[in-house]
């Protein structure tokens, strides 16, 4: 029987399998950031051990950092302490840090790929659930907790039980105005926020093959939002082209060797998945969420479900509670609803292509006077590119505020928060209660849909503008 892509990479990284227990899985690359690493550093220090393979860990500061005046000391004392602790820990333990002020600084899942650190066939972990992003390169990449960060520090391994495998096949051409964010929001709405729990997902099919690497990253990024351990896509020419020439990409003969190796990374035609889902790309419309988990999404021109018609009691109560929090009505349409904030950023949609798409749509237009629009590039390099391409000019003319790189309003750990009760169309990945600030109401959507609302001030079907 053939092997799945997942099996091929997994098998190569198992050091040992404990009888009736998890496997000792070797980790090629470990990313860390200021929020989930301090306790792990403290842990190994208390045990009196040093980092086993410090060169395989790369650090950045992203979750807490301000997105204005990054050259000044961080005002919030606790945030500053966490960032300083990271600097101190990295120095002490010999870990490469791309901290504030470094040209490579940025959201951990944006910088790994853009620097060419993320490469096909690798195992990658980070104390952050959206580590699944790196799966777009044909890697086994998944989020871990702080105890597991400590395990990697101590041994370059984690203990993992092998997940089941699921393949999601998406075939055909996308409708106009539909982008990769809509694909993943559609999938999650279809299978629910727990529909892939226990599985590692491979995305396949002609639609996926036709997407750029950045679009693929958006899809893999949100795998965790349906409960999956991670998501992956077999590497191909598009992937190799993207990696070529990046700072840490293999060079010279090593490049050719890598290509040969990477070309073996696909699921064999007779490989069997524990679960398989087929999706017709033509069925996907621009999507938006109305509730407080990413699975509560609808087509932009659709209606919120009528709660009385939901048979399952748990699910019904869940949606009633979500609608209460969101201040929305059962059965209503969201089109035309005023919003107060637009957030374009996060590890889901803050890469240069996302910002180019937004710029192309808003060029020569102005934002509606009733909305605040915040654009937060995913990394210093993306910010630099935005400037080099003159996109910052377009955004400034439209009345959008462009900030500095970081996680920002995706989780509101810095001062970028949405006020209680107000609506924000966000290109991020989570609409949980209070995620963007206590009481904030988040509607997840694509950068195009967010940009459309920035112009009109209301929830808008992007297809009406193009």
């Amino acid at each position: 029987m053939g092997k799945t892509l997942f099996d091929k990479i997994w098998d190569k990284h198992v050091v040992e399998t404990i009888n009736n227990g998890p496997s000792v899985l070797y980790i090629d690359r470990h990313f860390i950031h200021e929020v989930t690493s301090p306790q792990a550093f403290k842990g190994i220090e208390q045990r009196g051990v040093s980092l086993f393979r410090p060169k395989q860990t790369i650090a950045t500061a992203d979750h807490n950092v301000p997105t204005l005046n990054q050259h000044l000391p961080i005002k919030d004392e606790l945030s500053r302490m966490q960032v300083e602790q990271l600097i101190e820990n990295c120095e002490k333990h010999g870990v490469e840090l791309y901290g504030l002020g470094h040209p490579y600084q940025g959201i951990v899942h944006v910088i790994g790929p853009e620097l060419g650190i993320t490469q096909p066939g690798m195992t990658i972990v980070c104390g952050d659930s959206h580590t699944s992003t790196h799966g777009a390169f044909g890697t086994i990449a998944f989020g871990i907790g702080t105890s597991e960060v400590e395990m990697v520090f101590a041994s370059q391994c984690v203990l993992q039980t092998k997940p089941k495998t699921m393949r999601i096949n998406i075939e055909g051409a996308l409708q106009k105005g539909v982008v990769s964010k809509d694909i993943i929001l559609y999938i999650i709405a279809k299978i629910s926020s727990s529909g892939a729990t226990g599985y590692f997902v491979e995305y396949a099919g002609t639609t996926i093959r036709s997407l750029s690497m950045e679009a693929r990253m958006t899809i893999c990024n949100m795998s965790i939002e349906m409960g999956a351990r991670g998501g992956m896509i077999a590497p191909d020419e598009t992937c190799f082209e993207y990696i070529k020439g990046r700072a840490f990409a293999p060079k010279g003969t090593a490049w050719n060797d890598s290509i040969n190796e990477w070309s073996q990374l696909y699921s064999d035609s007779d490989a069997i998945f524990d679960s398989e889902i087929n999706i017709n790309a033509a069925d996907i419309q621009p999507m938006i969420t109305y509730g407080t988990n990413p699975g509560l999404g609808i087509a932009i021109n659709g209606n919120i479900p009528i709660t009385d018609n939901i048979a399952d009691e748990g699910e019904r109560n869940n949606i009633i509670k979500a609608l209460q929090y969101m201040g929305l009505e059962s059965g209503a349409s969201l089109l035309g609803m005023p919003v107060q904030h637009i957030f374009i950023g996060s590890c889901t949609n803050s890469r240069i292509e996302d910002l180019r798409e937004v710029a192309a749509l808003v060029k020569g237009k102005k934002k509606n006077s009733s909305v605040h629009v915040m654009i937060v590039p995913g990394s210093q390099q993306v910010a630099k590119q935005v400037h080099a391409e003159g996109l910052d000019q377009i955004f400034a003319e439209a009345g959008f505020q462009v900030r500095q790189a970081g996680c920002s309003a995706c989780l509101g750990m810095n001062e970028d928060k949405i006020p209680a009760g107000e609506y924000c169309i966000s290109t991020s990945n989570r609409n949980f209660e209070g995620r963007q600030g206590a009481g904030a109401r988040t509607l997840l959507a694509s950068p195009l849909t967010a940009a459309a609302a920035a112009i009109t001030g209301v929830v808008t079907d992007i297809r009406a503008l193009i």
Binding site: K12, V15, E16, I18, N20, G21, P22, V24, Y26, V35, T36, P38, Q39, K42, R47, V49, F52, H63, N64, L78, S79, Q82, Q85, G127, D128, S129, G143, I144, G145, T146, S147, E148, E150, M151, A154, S155, Q156, C157, L159, T161, P163, S193, S194, T197, I224, G227, R229, N293, G314, N317, N318, K321, L411, M413, R430, F432, E433, G434, R435, A438
Partner: protein, 195 residues
């Protein structure tokens, strides 16, 4: 990690589905650099009106004196969302040693086990049966036997736990000690893969 063999306690019911880790411990409380002290912010935004400790929300279970104990019982898909281990730390710090639900998110389950908080997965029906018990009733969780019993009715259910994790829990071992003992093997593995 301390050993965990048996829990006999009353329980706190939270019959809501999809409780995500942002609710268990909101992001603004993740700025600490130690593992202690998260309990006071557990379910912070569900516990207080306008984040004000002097204004507890009366209808939230943690604020109702009739509910107490070391066991939290919650609706399905508990712990979804962010991988923050702070969620497990805040439950432990508050005094919960076990969470009972009909379904747990993966990362949360690992994080809980790595901190000696036992995730107990039961059927939807058994979960409903627990929710229907009065606040005086107690539950008994036996790790060795892998059973959870509603003491008032005697109804009992078996739960799954990975045998390796079970040994760790019963003895208070942790994965890091185990991995540290494997360093030589790991070094050999590295050599063998570097052709």
């Amino acid at each position: 990690m301390k050993a965990l063999q048996k829990i006999h306690s009353r329980f706190v019911p939270l019959p809501m589905e999809n409780i995500d880790t942002d609710q268990i411990i909101p992001a603004r409380f993740l700025k600490a650099t130690t593992r202690e002290g998260f309990g006071k912010n557990l379910f912070r935004d569900w516990r207080y009106i306008n984040n004000d400790e002097s204004m507890p929300k009366k209808d939230f279970a943690l604020n109702q004196p009739q509910y107490t104990g070391e066991i939290l019982v919650a609706g399905k898909n508990f712990g979804c969302g962010s991988s923050r281990e702070h969620a497990a730390w805040s439950l432990l710090d508050y005094g919960f040693n076990a969470v009972v639900s009909s379904f747990f998110a993966d990362i949360f389950k690992n994080n809980a086990l790595n901190n000696g908080v036992l995730p107990v997965t039961v059927s939807d029906n058994f979960l409903q049966e627990i929710f229907q018990q009065g606040n005086e009733s107690t539950l008994t969780i036996n790790v060795e036997a892998q059973t959870i019993t509603i003491d008032t009715t005697g109804a009992s259910s078996h739960f799954e736990i990975n045998p390796y994790k079970k040994t760790c829990l019963l003895n208070g071992y942790d994965d890091i000690d185990f991995l540290l003992s494997k360093k030589e093997l790991i070094s050999e593995f590295e050599k063998s893969t570097k052709e």
